[in-house]
């Protein structure tokens, strides 16, 4: 299957963005001046990573892409020696990330990697629980280190203690060091991120593979349901909101909490009463760490946490208070979920005719169940908790740069690459030490204005889902499970390319995320800040959802997302609440408008727009 040639796609530069390449690391470019690399790029299959990057990447946010470019690849190719695959290669066109799994082609080499893989991956699988416990310790230590990290301001005169304690280091040096430490902590955290993830997904993928061989028609959502944890920490933030809602009703401060959508007003009113103070104390206990949950996926600087935007959890608490007042239960039906999971496992198992297959089913199910909590839980530690703190530390760096005239607004820092920031900080620090004006004050503000214009043009560009040449076989487990690269998705992607007029579309397809069929009115919410507009019984249409969207699910009838697979947040939550969900539709938020009548079939993954 042939897709557009990557170099031709890149060659059609959007007018006004000429020179955009400098916004990203040079190794991310499709090249024309290196014939060997050029040929490799042509012969390779690249797909747009819309799952992680529905929008073009800001130069600074490229950090996490570089981090996983390294981490995923090294674990596959240098640590666990996955026999048929190396890493996943990356490129960027117009701010959109394209990725491609790199196979090991030489059968002899594959053979040589097998015993190493069995030894190394086998060790992790065998000692999973103990190693995962170590992981949690390492990860929490990294978070503590991040919290403790100081981003110093540059003083007019260094403190006397520098002399009396013979410290021998200036705040200028510490600013540079702290920035390095911050970046290094981020990269380290992503090293940990993938320590278990490749193997975790492999266990999932091959359990899925086995069950699909036994039952070719089984929807992947059912396989996920068999192994999904019920008590995963991803649910904790939402649970905390429910607890706080209940407490508010018990203490009789629920009226205060629902009196305004603005947290500052509500907080002030609560602080005026003893009961209110009692409630605020409970809130403070819940905030660390649970309110570090991001309102987005956590991958981008604009994904703020609940702690950053208290209006968001407040609206969730208000929704739950409303439910309690109506006498509607807000408890997660965990017993029911668990019983249904056990029933599904038992029924499928009962349909397996052969003893050998039943044994293999049990083995693979056991393995997948062991590893799956990590697959779900790492998200909270890395993408939510760590990232939320990390972005704010970066804002402190931005504040220093603003103070020294390098950028006009703190939020402008995201338009610089991390190595440019390091360079700019050197400029700041040397100029500070010397007592002159940094050169960058005349360089960066202008460049940032231009880059903002480029980003806007990138946002309006629609990235082809796949480019290059599709391979015959894909062996990289992530490619299969996470991005759902299969015959079907390739066909769907080539079909999407042919659609010219989005207003003519009456049917959208995605992954069947959670079964059931409903009809209702659409409400398109591009960010969690918009969920306040949701009316009872509407169908939520969102780019993607995350744990901080949880309260929205108490109101809606069904959910549709642009990105995500059967293991995405929206799919998992909808299955729990018994709501239909179609996920990973690609462009639902572009095609569907609020108020449209939709028919959502979460069993077959089809959405019909009643025009």
């Amino acid at each position: 299957m042939k897709f557009p040639n990557p170099h031709e796609v890149k060659a059609k530069t959007i007018p006004g963005t000429e020179g955009w390449e400098r916004m990203y690391p040079y190794q991310y470019q499709f090249v024309s001046d290196d014939p060997v690399r050029n040929q490799y790029e042509k012969d390779t299959f690249w797909f747009a990573d819309g799952l992680h990057y529905p929008e073009p990447l800001y130069p600074f946010d490229t950090i996490w892409d570089e981090a996983w470019y390294l981490a995923l690849s090294q674990y596959n190719n240098r640590i666990f020696m996955v026999p048929p695959v190396r890493g996943v290669d990356h490129r960027i066109i117009n701010g959109y990330v394209y990725i491609s799994p790199v196979p090991v082609k030489d059968p002899e080499e594959i053979g040589k990697r097998v015993p190493h893989f069995m030894e190394r991956a086998g060790y992790y699988f065998k000692n999973w629980d103990a190693l995962e416990a170590k992981w949690t310790v390492k990860m929490e230590a990294a978070i503590r280190e991040l919290e403790a990290l100081q981003i110093p301001k540059l003083p007019e005169m260094e403190d006397l203690s520098v002399v009396t304690d013979a410290i021998g280091e200036s705040q200028g040096y510490h600013l540079l060091k702290s920035y390095d430490d911050l970046i290094n902590l981020g990269i380290k955290c992503w090293q940990y991120h993938f320590e278990f993830l490749n193997l975790g997904y492999a266990a999932y993928v091959f359990f899925l593979d086995f069950v699909q061989k036994l039952f070719p028609s089984i929807p992947p959502q059912r396989v996920t349901q068999m192994i999904a944890g019920v008590d995963v920490i991803m649910y904790r933030p939402d649970e905390e909101l429910k607890k706080l809602a209940k407490l508010a009703v018990e203490l009789g401060v629920d009226g205060t909490l629902t009196s305004s959508p603005a947290w500052t007003q509500v907080a002030a009113a609560l602080a005026a009463s003893a009961k209110g103070k009692q409630w605020l104390a409970a809130l403070d206990a819940a905030r660390e760490p649970w309110f570090n949950v991001s309102t987005g996926t956590g991958w981008f600087h604009h994904d703020r946490s609940w702690n950053d935007q208290m209006d968001v959890p407040l609206s969730g608490i208000a929704t739950y208070i409303g439910k309690i007042k109506q006498g509607v239960s807000i408890e997660r039906p965990t017993e029911k979920v668990r019983a249904e999971r056990d029933r599904i496992i038992a029924e499928y198992r009962g349909l397996i005719d052969k003893e050998e297959d039943r044994k293999q089913f049990d083995e693979l199910l056991g393995c997948a169940t062991t590893v799956f909590p990590y697959v779900e839980n790492h998200l909270f530690y890395v993408e939510h908790w760590f990232h939320s703190l990390f972005w704010n530390k970066m804002r402190e760096v931005g504040a220093v740069m603003k103070e020294h005239g390098m950028i006009e607004e703190v939020e402008d820092i995201w338009l610089l690459r991390r190595d440019e920031i390091k360079q700019a900080l050197w400029d700041v620090v040397t100029a500070w030490a010397t007592g002159v004006t940094p050169r960058g004050t005349k360089v960066w503000p202008k460049e940032i204005v231009w880059r903002k214009g480029v980003m806007q043009k990138f946002k309006e560009w629609s990235a082809p889902p796949a480019i290059g040449t599709a391979p015959e076989v894909i062996q990289e487990p992530f490619t299969i499970v996470l991005w759902g690269v299969t015959n079907k998705s390739l066909t769907d992607w080539s079909a999407v390319q042919e659609v010219k007029d989005p207003d003519s579309i009456t049917e959208l397809k995605g992954f069947a995320g959670s079964p059931g069929i409903v009809e209702g009115r659409a409400r398109v919410c591009k960010t969690v800040a918009e969920v306040g507009q949701l009316q009872e019984g509407e169908i939520l249409v969102a780019p993607t959802t995350s744990p901080s969207w949880a309260p929205a699910f108490a109101k809606i009838k069904a959910c549709v997302t642009d990105v995500g697979g059967v293991m995405s947040h929206a799919a998992i939550v909808c299955r729990e609440y018994g709501l239909p969900a179609v996920v990973g539709t690609g462009h639902a938020t572009k095609v569907i408008k609020s108020g449209m009548m939709l028919r959502v079939d979460g069993s077959s993954g089809v959405i019909n727009i009643v025009r």
């Binding site: 048929p84 492999a202 593979d209 086995f210 039952f215 059912r222 349909l351 050998e356 062996q475 077959s604």
Partner: protein, 375 residues
């Protein structure tokens, strides 16, 4: 138990004390009732008792058959005719068959038995809420299950029969089907004793189907046991079974009962009954209905649930004929007409997918080495 059945000798379970009944409602039959009501009626009884909705009806038992043969004096006539018959003599065979069959079809039932049948038929009509309810009258042979014994009783079926007299006449025609020349010769060659032969006749409400079709509790294309596959079209099931229309196709998850795939086809033809001639005939489906889904989702789910119960009862994948009756209100209008074991996949000995003794790691490794083929 139905009071009528008690009055007229009780059901299968009452048989020990009162002697075997002459007539028997389907719900009083079980798998082991084959000697009394034949294979077909026993299997319908078994389904009903498994909680499956089957069009109601009753059977003339083998006891009823014997009583008829004795009261009409045909059993003596039979012995006389068959004792000296040379089965190699085709002409003699056909002559004997013709006179036996003529005798059977000409002799009325005794007044007592006519009353019994009339009463059951009246009750059946009452149960169905249809005056003189149209029924299917069909033979239900006791020896059908014998290997290669399919000629033991010819499979006679008469559809859209209405009124007591017609029912009685067709019951006799079914009985007479036990004595076709071919059946007599077959039994003689196999050494079955004609005097021991008996037949049962089933009288069952015709399903006046709005929609009908077939259902497999295993995927007929790939042997997947986790799904139920339903083919469905408007009118009687003939259109689906004969392949005359491309039916709508639904794939239902057997474990969760949600519809995971649906294909709605253009259904140009449907079969419906001409009540004048009592034969079903093809007619064109109105153009605006052709592409309408022939079962609503709730019906699909209910049907699949029934399929699952039937499979559970028999402990194996089943091949099922069903109909949605237009005379009855929804919620109680889906009927199972027939259920038999699926044979294609069930008889295929397939190798297990797992390699014996393979650990999860072995499987993961071999899976990685094989990869996922994209074309």
């Amino acid at each position: 138990m139905d009071s009528a059945a008690v009055r007229f000798g009780g059901g299968a379970e009452g048989a020990a004390k009162a002697g075997p009944p002459l007539l028997c409602w389907f719900e009083q039959c079980r798998s082991e009732s084959v000697p009394l009501v034949g294979g077909k009626c026993a299997s319908l009884g078994e389904l009903i008792n498994a909680g499956v909705r089957v069009p109601p009806g009753f059977a003339l038992t083998t006891e009823g058959y014997r009583r008829f043969m004795a009261e009409a004096g045909i059993d003596r006539e039979l012995k006389r005719l068959l004792d000296r018959l040379d089965c190699q003599d085709m002409e003699a065979l056909e002559n004997a068959s013709a006179s036996i069959r003529a005798a059977i079809e000409a002799q009325p039932f005794s007044a007592e038995m006519e009353d019994l049948v009339a009463e059951n038929y009246r009750r059946l009509s009452l149960r169905c809420g249809v005056p003189a309810v149209p029924v299917a009258v069909r033979s239900s042979a006791t020896a059908e299950d014998l290997p290669g014994a399919s000629f033991a009783g010819q499979q006679d079926t008469y559809l859209w029969i209405r009124g007591t007299d017609e029912v009685l006449a067709h019951m006799r025609r079914c009985i007479s089907s036990l004595y076709t020349g071919r059946a007599i010769a077959y039994r003689a060659n196999r050494g079955y004793d004609d005097e021991q032969m008996a037949i049962s006749v089933g009288v069952q409400k015709m399903s006046n189907s709005y929609t009908a079709g077939v259902m497999f509790t295993i995927h007929p294309a790939n042997g997947d046991r986790s799904v139920i596959v339903i083919d469905s079209s408007f009118g009687f099931g003939e259109a689906v079974v004969s392949g005359e229309v491309t039916p709508d196709n639904f794939v239902v998850n057997k474990v969760t009962l949600d519809i995971i795939d649906r294909t709605v086809s253009r259904k140009e033809v449907c079969y419906t009954v001409d009540l004048q001639t009592q034969v079903s005939r093809a007619m064109e489906v109105p153009i605006e209905r052709q592409t309408v889904q022939s079962l609503i989702d709730d019906e699909i789910t209910e049907l699949a649930w029934m399929g699952k119960q039937i499979e559970k009862h028999y402990g194996r994948p089943m091949d099922i004929e069903w109909a949605v009756d237009k005379d009855l209100p929804s919620g109680g209008n889906i009927f199972i007409l027939q259920a038999r074991p699926e044979t294609v996949w069930s008889e295929k000995r397939q190798a297990p997918i797992a390699n014996p003794g393979a650990s999860a790691m072995d499987y993961i490794l071999s899976g990685m080495l094989a990869g996922k083929r994209v074309t």
